[in-house]
């Protein structure tokens, strides 16, 4: 439907709301961030230069425009600290997303095959952790994983390990935290597509000579791919930018881009560089989103 047909009707004015929302709360702020990313750091208030001052007149504004530069972006792609942060973020997101698919798919598949009356309960169980704040749940994991935490105590009591192991501040702890936190976002879209598959299709495949394994790989799996895609996008993108989980559970020797960004912004007070890192991150994440959208359009 063309924009004209939507906005032409009075009732269609409501369709303007999301566009206004995006304009006010995404595009305009993003414009500020882009502007700051092209500025230079300064010991001033605000901590960057140049500052646009409309009251100073046209020549001053032009001078301010000419002072903008791509220096921050040059630094981001040449300094190994930033390049490694980006790479680590992408690797962590890839590994976590793979783990999430491997773990979430069987759970979603099992849920979809439960008797109807149990499916709502299973869904509740998946959603229930959201009742507790995300931050509190991550702190709970710190409690479990620390030196004298629940995990080490249990393993010691069962005589599985002779002395406490180091769990906390490792990559394993970080992956555990990420997979734990994002699992519902993988399960729910997967469950939604799996539950939608007409059982008659599976019967038809069996009727035509496919064993149960063949039926899964030839019918169920291909038909669930839109759900896998949605789950992957829903998890991969926020994991790339993840800050809290690696900061609390991983060691401090490797940083993800979210942590680097935080460091630049709050510790080094380098707003322009932090903004450039944010703009760069968004550019990186646009790629998987566009791929996903194209795939979805082909499905239709």
């Amino acid at each position: 439907m063309s924009a004209r047909r939507i906005f032409g009707r009075p009732a269609g004015l409501a369709a303007l709301a999301p566009y206004l929302w995006m304009l006010l709360f995404f595009l305009v702020p993003f414009g500020f961030v882009v502007k700051i990313s092209l500025s230079q750091v300064a010991i001033a208030q605000p901590p960057y230069t140049p500052v646009f001052d409309l009251s100073a007149g046209w020549p001053a504004l032009r001078a301010a425009f000419e002072a903008l530069s791509l220096e921050n972006f040059r630094l981001l792609v040449t300094d190994s600290l930033y390049v490694l942060s980006y790479l680590r973020s992408i690797v962590v997101a890839l590994v976590s997303t793979a783990l999430l698919v491997a773990l979430g798919y069987p759970v979603a598949y099992g849920m979809a095959r439960l008797p109807r009356r149990w499916q709502a309960t299973a869904m509740m169980l998946v959603i229930v952790p959201f009742w507790t704040s995300f931050l509190i749940r991550i702190y709970a994991w710190i409690n479990i994983l620390q030196h004298d935490g629940l995990l080490n105590q249990t393993l010691l009591a069962l005589h599985i390990i002779p002395q406490p192991l180091v769990w906390l501040s490792t990559d394993s702890a970080m992956y555990l935290g990420i997979v734990y936190s994002y699992l519902p976002f993988m399960i729910l879209p997967l469950y939604a597509t799996l539950a939608k598959i007409d059982p008659a299709l599976l019967e038809a495949a069996g009727d035509l000579g496919a064993s149960r394994t063949q039926t899964f790989w030839l019918i169920t799996f291909p038909l669930s791919l839109p759900g896998v895609g949605a789950g992957v996008v829903l998890c991969f993108i926020p994991i790339v930018g993840e800050f809290v989980i690696p900061d609390l559970l991983a060691g401090s020797d490797n940083m993800m881009i979210g942590q680097t960004l935080w460091l630049e912004f709050f510790i080094n007070k380098d707003w322009p560089l932090a903004s450039a890192a944010a703009v760069m991150l968004l550019m990186l994440l646009l790629a998987p989103l566009l791929i996903y959208q194209r795939l979805q359009r082909r499905e239709l």
Binding site: D198, A200, L201, G206, D207, L208, G209, A210
Partner: protein, 366 residues
């Protein structure tokens, strides 16, 4: 030996018995219809033949081999689903080839068989279409081609034409019969549409509440129903309660409250009770202003009833009438409109004589 023998099969869902002690023989090359109201167990019976349900008791023999416990993919039986169940991510060609690939048929043979099937159901040129790019009728053809591709010993059809409009349904019925005869295959169709069952099937099995009530040719089913329930389920019928007064020379004299004394032909099965009912199809009831004009000597005595026409429904091929008898009961009659002009039509409130022959009466135990 029959191709398929269903022997005392029982299927329960919890406390509910969906199929209750059904025994049935299907001959090779037969077009058999399972007919019944929804919930009568006909689809469950079909699903047991396909292998989607396992019977609690009884045997299903195909060529003398018990297949009741075999998984669907191990049976030489295919099913055409009511929803067609076409794989949405595969095109027409791959849908038809699906079963052939599972049978590990060589690539060349698959190509040839798919082409043959596509030609059989007249879908040439649509091989690369996905199911959502097809019309309802085309989907139905793909489903048929897919289920026939493996040359099943028995093809099961679950309400295959329920989603088609009337004209397309009639054309498809004719094609289905032609196809079945040409391929010499055994078809079992499940339907709730008695006209469809009578059109396509050689024999019809009528089910009610999990039981197989009668197995007969369409003609037998209509003209000699086995019970009052079947008589009323298949087609329209007048049913008059009464009891046998006398029996002589293959004629029963029946006293009824609604229609006085009726003379009916003696049924082939001896009656066990005297309290019975008489059933007469509306088209067997003739109407006239004075009754049968001449009744040659020695001819069978006709049953005559006097009444007033209350309803006239012109339906094109026939006109159906309701006649309120002098006893207060209502008798339905229908007459073929054999002439274009209104020559022997009756109008409401006209007094008429309704008459029918004893041979047209079916005597049924309640």
């Amino acid at each position: 030996m029959p191709l398929l023998r269903i022997d005392s099969v029982v299927k329960k869902f919890g406390k509910y018995t969906a199929v209750d002690q059904v025994s049935l023989d299907i001959r090779a090359g037969e077009f058999f219809a399972l007919l019944g109201p929804s919930g009568c167990g006909k689809t469950t019976l079909l699903r047991m033949l396909a292998g989607f349900e396992t019977p609690e008791a009884g045997r299903i023999l195909l060529d003398g081999m018990d297949i009741a416990a075999l998984l669907p993919h191990r049976r030489p039986i295919n099913m055409m689903f009511q929803s067609y169940a076409l794989f949405p991510h595969l095109d027409v060609r791959d849908n038809i080839a699906f079963g052939l690939k599972r049978a590990n048929m060589p690539r060349g043979e698959i190509e040839a068989r798919v082409a043959e099937m596509v030609a059989l159901v007249k879908l040439e040129g649509l091989e690369r279409r996905k199911p959502d790019q097809l019309s309802g009728g085309q989907k139905q053809r793909v489903a048929l081609a897919r289920s026939l591709a493996r040359r099943p010993r028995v093809l099961l059809l679950d309400e295959p034409m329920a989603a088609l409009d009337k004209k397309l349904r009639e054309a498809t019925q004719a094609e289905l019969m032609e196809l079945q005869r040409r391929l010499g295959l055994t078809f079992i169709i499940v339907t709730h549409d008695q006209e469809e069952a009578m059109t396509v099937a050689d024999r019809i099995g009528v089910m009610d509440a999990g039981r197989l009530e009668q197995v007969a040719t369409p003609r037998q089913l209509y003209e000699a129903p086995a019970s009052r329930w079947i008589a009323e389920f298949v087609g329209d019928i007048n049913v008059i309660d009464g009891h046998v007064e006398a029996q002589a020379e293959h004629r029963l004299t029946i006293a009824t409250r609604d229609a006085g004394t009726i003379v009916a032909a003696e049924p082939r099965q001896p009656l066990r009770k005297t309290s019975i009912c008489v059933a007469i199809r509306p088209e067997k009831v003739k109407l006239s202003r004075r009754g049968p004009v001449t009744e040659p000597a020695g001819a069978i005595a006709m049953n005559r009833l006097e009444g007033v026409v209350t309803d006239v429904n012109y339906l094109g091929g026939i006109t159906s009438y309701k006649v309120k008898l002098d006893t207060g009961a209502v008798l339905r009659a229908s007459m073929a409109n054999t002439a274009r002009l209104e020559l022997n039509a009756y109008s409401a409130s006209q007094r008429v004589t309704a008459w029918f022959s004893p041979d047209d009466c079916v005597v049924l135990e309640q």
